[in-house]
């Protein structure tokens, strides 16, 4: 036995790819089952959203989609030879049905890479903005739309829903400006009384409310620069947003209106009498123009970045993968318009993991770093863009950002 142990030479053989795949699927299935059991034992309705669906979905779940997405982005950022560009991009346009006559830069040689061409700009007159209350924010296909009635659940496809709070995030307090923001515009009069409450010119708020729950909120950044108050008033009138008493009181007190808002658990508070919540989902196919625009006159108060997975969001996957839009990496832009709450959520996918918001230079998506737990988000508030409105005002049709390859 000793001789056999010490003298038998070790010979390595490659594992058959089928056996390896089965092993990976089995390990993944066991892990998911364990998580499901833990959630059931905890009896927690708010347990983090897990991957659910047929075996194709679970097979997709074991692939390193985020790494693949970054590699895809890198490959498509490589500069192509000038002679190849017209042929290559014309071929791409022919395959995916892009209209090259709409390009802002018609000379295809000027696009250095496929990524550059993918994020192309269109001529300013290529997309006239309809005089409607709500216009399309992007080129694409309408997957689904309707009203939200069933206990704040949004319908992904017929019979398959996901939680509105999971999509937009649930904060443990009100919006959370940083300490720099607390004293903005009135630094001399601001002071903190104790650890429980801060008092700024007679307006009290809890420190916990201000800073948020550390488990759910990683970061809160003020962004953009302050503009002139008269410009903001004009923007408010144009957006049709009433300057509420609360806002005026806060302005008189010399602090940001955002601090004065009532703390809430959900991104969407109770809707006004006579109102309803509506939703619409637009899918952008690979050949579509991939910049997105403002769908209405509204004010973006904050953004929440959820660094999730990067599953495909094609209609095929959307019909099979439950909670797809809650699992994927996304940027929830939250704010208000003349009728109340308004939000736009660009959701990333495997080929387009990078989401850009033009007025938010601090936003970084699809980064190579350890991802936070599901449901955790990074938040930034846009109060500096317009202290009067408490956010970034947008007109209908204004370019907001876009999706980039990788």
């Amino acid at each position: 036995l000793a001789n056999a142990w010490y003298d038998t030479p070790t010979k390595w053989y490659p594992l058959h790819i089928g056996v390896g795949s089965l092993l990976l699927v089995s390990l993944h299935w066991r892990k998911r089952r364990q998580q499901a059991l833990e959630d059931a034992e905890a009896g927690d309705d708010n347990a983090p959203v897990r991957l659910k669906g047929p075996w194709q979905v679970h097979a997709l779940g074991i692939l390193p989609l985020r790494s693949a997405s970054r590699l895809w982005g890198y490959l498509n950022s490589l500069e192509l030879p000038v002679w190849f560009r017209p042929f290559g991009f014309s071929f791409y346009a022919w395959i995916f049905g892009c209209n090259l006559d709409e390009l802002d830069e018609p000379d295809l040689k000027k696009y250095k890479s496929l990524g550059d061409f993918f994020y192309r700009k269109l001529r300013p007159d290529a997309r006239p903005i309809a005089p409607s209350l709500l216009v399309s924010p992007a080129d694409g296909t309408v997957l689904h739309f309707g009203s939200i009635q069933d206990h704040r659940r949004v319908e992904q496809v017929k019979g398959m829903t996901y939680s509105l709070d999971a999509l937009l995030g649930v904060a443990s307090g009100s919006s959370t400006p940083t300490s720099e923001e607390i004293h903005f515009g009135n630094r001399d009069h601001a002071h903190v009384d104790d650890t429980e409450f801060a008092n700024v010119n007679g307006i009290e708020y809890s420190v916990d409310t201000l800073l948020g729950h550390p488990a759910q909120r990683q970061q809160s950044l003020p962004t953009s620069e302050t503009k002139d108050a008269s410009v903001e008033k004009d923007a408010a009138l144009e957006a049709g947003i009433n300057m509420t008493d609360n806002v005026n009181v806060a302005l008189d007190a010399g602090i940001r209106p955002l601090l004065h808002r009532t703390p809430s658990q959900s991104a969407v508070n109770k809707v006004k009498d006579g109102n309803e919540l509506f939703f619409a989902v637009i899918y952008l196919a690979p050949g579509d123009y991939h910049r997105f625009h403002s769908p209405a006159a509204w004010v973006v108060e904050k953004r929440r970045h959820f660094a999730g997975e990067l599953y495909s969001v094609s209609p095929y996957i959307a019909r099979r993968l439950a909670n797809l839009f809650v699992l994927n990496e996304r940027v929830a832009l939250l704010g208000r318009w003349r009728h109340g709450f308004f939000s736009m959520v660009p959701v990333g996918a495997t080929n387009v993991g990078s989401i850009v918001v033009n007025f938010d230079k601090d936003l970084r998506t699809n980064e190579r770093q350890k991802r936070p737990a599901p449901g955790v988000f990074r938040e930034a508030v846009y109060t500096r863009a317009s202290p009067l409105l408490g956010g970034q005002p947008l007109k209908p049709g204004v370019e907001v950002g876009g999706f980039k390859l990788g």
Partner: protein
């Protein structure tokens, strides 16, 4: 990639869309 819009509007709001319809930036989606 996908864009999800969630908003509050009067109950009289109506979408001027069909599921599966192609839309372009700036095209009317709905009105009160």
């Amino acid at each position: 990639s996908t864009i999800v819009l969630v908003f509050e509007a009067p109950k009289t709001f109506q979408f001027s869309l069909q599921a599966g319809q192609k839309v372009r930036v700036g095209q009317a989606m709905g009105d009160v």
